[in-house]
Symmetry: C2
Subunit: 344 residues, 2 copies
């Protein structure tokens, strides 16, 4: 790929095809885009592009259509990510402003993203693995029945009921509560587990010292709550009606996608690792591990408070999609979402 103009031709093809959904021919190209050359010249370039595998012709006498490889080159080198307009920015901010809690924020983001891109939007709830413990509360609901409340930095609250064998006095509970909070408050939940075990059996005590059964049970329950929730990666999906934009091929394209959307595990894998720092990743067609999704692309990025990528968010759509627009929207929503999490 040496020639400069050829790249312009490829870009023009992609843009036209995305807009019209129809194979684009040499003549239409020079008309619609202002490349100052004749159709014949463009034809030569197109032949070369086809040779190199960036575009393909569905049949002999039809226009050209970008291949996955063509889209790839397009997003890698040919897009100038257009920033959102001021109006759009205001709309985004306003839309997210009214949210009352974390769930609401995520729901609103999903809806927003699907409306901006007119694609299927997927937003993962902030994972807890990176979040920190804000507070742990122990409450005796009954003499042998404890309620554990775990409050995390993301604003999420987890609770567990714990039955214990022996009655627990209010003082014991208060002491334990204080100990636990001293140990884990502010800790990343991955580390909190270790700290909790230490409480049940302090390292400075002799190794054969009897461990405190209450503390051990509470620690176990808390650790379990943290782990459980770490793997419980909830996601929010919206805009499925935009699947109509896939065109006709329901069985080959839409149905596998609908199935993937229900398999949240698959979906998360598809969205990939959360990438921080405003980097938007794009997976085009068969680049992913799923054969059936060879006609779908994913545009995703990470988000989270303080530029830490706690979770991912993105859109899923046909390979023939508006990549620059989707990337811009995904990036913008991730940014605003991160900002909101910052404040909270």
């Amino acid at each position: 790929m040496q020639n400069e103009r050829r790249l312009s031709v490829l870009r023009a093809i992609v843009e036209d095809y995305v807009k019209t959904e129809e194979p684009v021919g040499s003549k239409a190209l020079v008309e619609r885009h202002g490349l100052g050359v004749s159709p014949a010249t463009v034809r030569n370039d197109m032949a070369a592009l086809e040779e190199e595998g960036y575009i393909t012709a569905p049949h002999t006498s039809a226009g050209r259509v970008p291949t996955d490889k063509g889209y790839r080159l397009f997003v890698d080198r040919l897009t100038t990510v257009k920033p959102m307009t001021a109006a759009e920015k205001r709309a985004i901010a306003g839309f997210l402003e009214g949210a009352v809690d974390l769930d609401d924020v995520v729901t609103r983001s999903t809806r927003l993203l699907s409306q901006l891109t007119r694609q299927v939007a997927v937003v993962q709830y902030p994972t807890l693995s990176r979040s920190t413990v804000r507070h742990v509360e122990l409450v005796a609901l009954a003499p042998t029945r404890l309620l554990l409340v775990l409050i995390l930095s993301t604003g999420r609250v987890e609770q567990r009921l714990l039955e214990v064998t022996e009655e627990v006095s209010e003082e014991t509970l208060a002491t334990l509560r204080a100990k636990i909070n001293t140990a884990v408050a502010g800790a990343v939940i991955a580390d909190a587990g270790e700290a909790l075990r230490t409480i049940a059996q302090p390292p400075d005590a002799p190794a054969d010292a009897p461990q405190d059964p209450l503390a051990a049970a509470v620690a176990e329950a808390l650790i379990e709550a943290m782990n459980d929730h770490r793997s419980d990666e909830r996601i929010s999906i919206g805009g499925t009606s935009n699947l109509a934009r896939f065109g006709d091929n329901f069985d080959t394209a839409v149905r596998p996608l609908l199935e993937a959307l229900e398999e949240h595990v698959v979906l998360l894998k598809l969205m990939g690792e959360a990438t921080a720092g405003g980097l938007v990743t794009v997976r085009i067609g068969a680049e992913g591990p799923y054969q059936e999704l060879s006609q779908t692309s994913v545009v995703a990025t990470g988000y989270g408070p303080g530029d830490e990528a706690l979770a991912t968010l993105g859109v899923v759509g046909p390979t023939r999609m508006d990549y620059p627009g989707s990337m811009a929207a995904v990036r913008a929503v991730a940014r605003y979402l991160s900002r909101i999490l910052d404040e909270a």
Copy 2:
């Protein structure tokens, strides 16, 4: 509608059409079903059925297709709800058995229902309006920061953070906690609000007595939590890939449905009032309030512990669907789900 055989003909038409998805003619009818008459006779019956509006012919020389009215008659008078087989019952029980918490139960039910019926399944989370308060907990996270925890009979736990203006001592809190629990424990949440307000300003006190600001604030927050959640009717949706069974008409049938599925409010309205006591309601095509959903039917019922209809659950699919099968599956899942809620 006098003739007995005509009804058999209608039933046969519905069954055949549901199976083949194609207009069914007189000849095919007598072959596939054992009605011991000639095609000509059937034709006469069909003419009569068409006259009365139970079936219709898409065009002159094609077979007949049931109308909404035909389906209605079919479900009202012609179906014998076939009970689930023992194997199916075991599968259902096994599938739901493994659930760990309420969310999991609902999720599993959704998946189960969509697999049983091969339709889109919708399960509403148990509404709280009928549920009772099991326990209220007040925790001082900081001197002026309270955590309210509301535990309901459904096993759902709601929490609210409350900032107060004045520092609260542990004793004050304990007293208030005791008072609140005495007042509301076991109460239906609809009544709990009244009881809470009474605490803030006892009726036996002079009307102009200063009310307790702390109690008032807590009461307000709790009431808000209850109300909030009463209207926050979460639902779980599964099996959207079964929408493929709608056939080709994506834009006229599938898309409106996808949109409805995202509008949870619409969806809940569609499912209708929770009907208790094992009654399954069926809404066929345009019988509902939504023009766009004239090609979809809803089979739903209520469920909840102790035969109280706390929430609804059902399937949504094309008017041409297997009503007896769907009704049986919906009823069975609702029954098992209720039983599980009973135990909890």
